[in-house]
C-alpha cells in the first residue's frame, strides 16, 4: 500500500479567546470551512492561549482560527502566537473579527498569519486558511 490520502483535509482549530460574547460568528466560519472540505476542531468560547496550544498540539492542527470582538486583539493575538512558539508549534494563526486597519500591520508583525474582517466572503475565508496553512512553516 502506498501513500494513501496524501491530500488529506486541512485540520483547523477554531476558538474564541477571552471571556467575551457569543460564538455565532465562529460557528458560521466553522460551517464555511467544513463546506470547503476542511476538518474543524471546534473549541468555542472562553478559551485561553494554553488551552488552544493543547488542542493544536493534540489535534496536529494545520491552522488556528481565532475570533475576537473585544478589541483585545493587540494583546491577545501576540500572546497566542508566543504561546505556540514556546510550545515549539509553528501553526499559523488567523485572526477574525473587527480589527481596525491600523492594527492589522501590528498583528502581522507579531506573527499573525492573516487577518479577516467581518466582510470577508466564504471563498475568501477558505482561501485565507488554505494559504496560511500552505505557508505555515
Amino acid at each position: 500500500m502506498s501513500n494513501a490520502g496524501q491530500d488529506a483535509p486541512l485540520r483547523v482549530v477554531l476558538a474564541k479567546l477571552g471571556l467575551d460574547g457569543h460564538d455565532r460568528g465562529l460557528k458560521v466560519v466553522a460551517r464555511i470551512l467544513r463546506d470547503a472540505g476542511m476538518e474543524v476542531i471546534y473549541l468555542g468560547l472562553r478559551q485561553t492561549a494554553a488551552s488552544i496550544v493543547e488542542a493544536a498540539e493534540q489535534e496536529d492542527a494545520d491552522a488556528i482560527g481565532l475570533s475576537m470582538h473585544n478589541a483585545g486583539h493587540l494583546t491577545l493575538a501576540p500572546t497566542m502566537v508566543q504561546a505556540l512558539r514556546d510550545a515549539d508549534l509553528h501553526t499559523p494563526v488567523i485572526v477574525g473579527g473587527i480589527v481596525p486597519d491600523v492594527d492589522v500591520d501590528e498583528l502581522l508583525e507579531a506573527g499573525v498569519a492573516a487577518v479577516l474582517g467581518p466582510g470577508a466572503s466564504a471563498a475568501e475565508v477558505a482561501q485565507t486558511v488554505r494559504d496560511a496553512a500552505a505557508v505555515g512553516s
Binding site: M1, S2, N3, A4, G5, Q6, D7, A8, P9, R11, A30, R31, L33, R34, D35, A36, G37, M38, E39, V40, I41, Y42, L43, G44, A50, S51, E54, A55, E57, Q58, E59, D60, D62, A87, D88, L89, H90, A133, A134, V135, G136, S137
Partner: protein, 340 residues
C-alpha cells in the same frame, strides 16, 4: 522498516522527522510527536504501516474502552467526566473521538472536544489526558484501520485507559466499539432509545449500559425497556451467556453517576480478567483488524484491476450486454487471483 519520508505537499513541510524519531519522542512523552503520528495513522499508507509495526511491540497494556450511542446522547460529556476521574486517580487516559465527515464536501465539524474540555480543564493549565478528534473521512474502510491503530499507538506510548467515542449508527462504528475490551452504550430518555439501540445492533455489543440525561423525565422508562430487552434477548454480553450488562443512570452534565460508571468499567475489566475472556475479546479484535486490512488491500487491487485495460474492456462488454456481469467479474477475478 521505515520508508523514506514522502514529500509532503508544500506547507506541510513542518511535519518533518522520521516515523522512528517521532515514535521515540512520543514514547518519551512528547505530545507534539504523538499528535503528528496520529495524523500519519489517519492518512494510512506506508507511514501508518510503519507505526503499526512499532506500536505492535509496545502495546498490550491499556484497557480499551468503547463508548457509543445515538447522536447527542451525551457521550462526550460523559467521557469528559470519566477522563477527569481517571486523571484524578493518577491514570493517563487518552480519548479518540470519532465524528462523521460530510459526505458532500469531505469536511467535518469535530465538536466532541469542547464537551470534554468543559469537564477536564476548568481553568486548569495542563491535563495529562490526550484528546484527539478524528473524522470518518467518507470511507468506512479507512476508519476500520485507523481507529484500532490509533488506539494501539496510544497504548504503546503509555496511555491507559484508551477511550474510543463513536456515534452508534454505522456498522463500522459499532464494530469498532464492539472490539474494545469494554463497550459502553449510552442511551437517553425520550426517543425510544432502547429500541433504537436494539436496531443498531448495540444491544449485542454492550458490556455496560448508561442511561444518561437521567435528570430528564423518562429515564426510568428507558432503564426498564433496556432491562426488558436484556430479558428477552438471548444475547447477553458478547460471547458469554452468564454475563448481564449492568444498567447505570447518569447525568453527565453535573457528573452525577460518573463515579459508578468508572467503577462499572473497572469491574468489567476485572471480570474479563477472571478467565480468558479478555483474551477472547482481544483475539476477536485482532481478527477483525486483520480482516479489515486485507479487505482494504484487496479493494485497492480490485480498483486497479477494474481500471486496467483488460478490466475496462470486460466492463465495457458487460455494459454492452456482450458479456454477463457474472462473466465479466469472473474474468477480472481470474486476473486478480492470478488464475489466467
Amino acid at each position: 522498516m521505515t520508508p523514506p519520508e514522502s514529500t509532503p505537499p508544500s506547507g506541510r513541510a513542518r511535519r518533518r522527522g522520521s516515523v522512528d524519531e517521532l515514535y521515540a519522542e512520543a514514547r518519551k512523552g512528547s505530545r507534539l510527536a504523538l499528535g503528528r503520528l496520529l495524523t500519519l495513522v489517519e492518512r494510512g499508507g506506508d507511514a501508518a504501516d510503519s507505526i503499526s509495526e512499532l506500536a505492535h511491540t509496545d502495546a498490550g497494556q491499556a484497557h480499551i474502552v468503547g463508548i457509543t450511542g445515538a447522536p447527542g446522547a451525551g457521550k462526550s460529556t460523559l467521557t469528559g467526566q470519566l477522563v477527569a476521574r481517571y486523571v484524578e486517580a493518577g491514570r493517563r487516559p487518552a480519548v479518540l473521538a470519532v465524528d462523521p465527515s460530510s459526505p458532500l464536501t469531505g469536511g467535518a465539524i469535530l465538536g466532541d472536544r469542547i464537551r470534554m474540555d468543559d469537564v477536564v480543564v476548568p481553568g486548569e493549565e495542563r491535563s495529562v489526558a490526550f484528546i484527539r478528534s478524528m473524522a470518518t473521512r467518507g470511507h468506512s474502510g479507512g476508519l476500520a484501520l485507523a481507529v484500532p491503530l490509533a488506539a494501539r499507538l496510544f497504548d504503546a506510548v503509555g496511555y491507559d485507559p484508551v477511550i474510543i467515542e463513536t456515534v452508534g449508527v454505522g456498522q463500522v462504528e459499532v464494530d469498532v466499539v464492539g472490539a474494545a475490551d469494554t463497550a459502553v452504550v449510552v442511551a437517553t430518555p425520550g426517543m425510544g432509545d432502547a429500541v433504537q439501540a436494539n436496531k443498531a445492533g448495540l444491544l449485542e455489543v454492550a458490556d455496560i449500559f448508561v442511561v444518561n440525561k437521567a435528570d430528564r423525565p423518562g429515564a426510568n422508562d428507558v432503564r426498564r425497556d433496556l432491562d426488558l430487552m436484556l430479558d428477552l434477548s438471548h444475547v447477553t454480553g458478547q460471547e458469554d451467556t452468564n454475563y448481564r450488562p449492568p444498567i447505570l443512570m447518569s447525568s453527565a452534565l453535573e457528573g452525577a453517576g460518573a463515579d459508578e460508571v468508572v467503577k462499572a468499567i473497572d469491574d468489567h475489566l476485572a471480570y474479563l480478567g477472571t478467565n480468558d475472556r479478555r483474551l477472547v475479546r482481544r483475539r476477536h479484535r485482532v481478527r477483525t483488524e486483520v480482516r479489515a486490512r486485507i479487505e482494504q488491500a484487496l479493494s485497492l487491487r480490485i480498483e486497479a484491476e477494474m481500471d486496467s485495460n483488460a478490466g475496462t474492456e470486460a466492463v465495457a462488454k458487460a455494459e454492452a450486454a456482450e458479456l454477463s456481469p457474472t462473466a465479466a467479474s469472473t474474468l477480472i477475478l481470474d486476473r486478480l487471483l492470478g488464475r489466467t
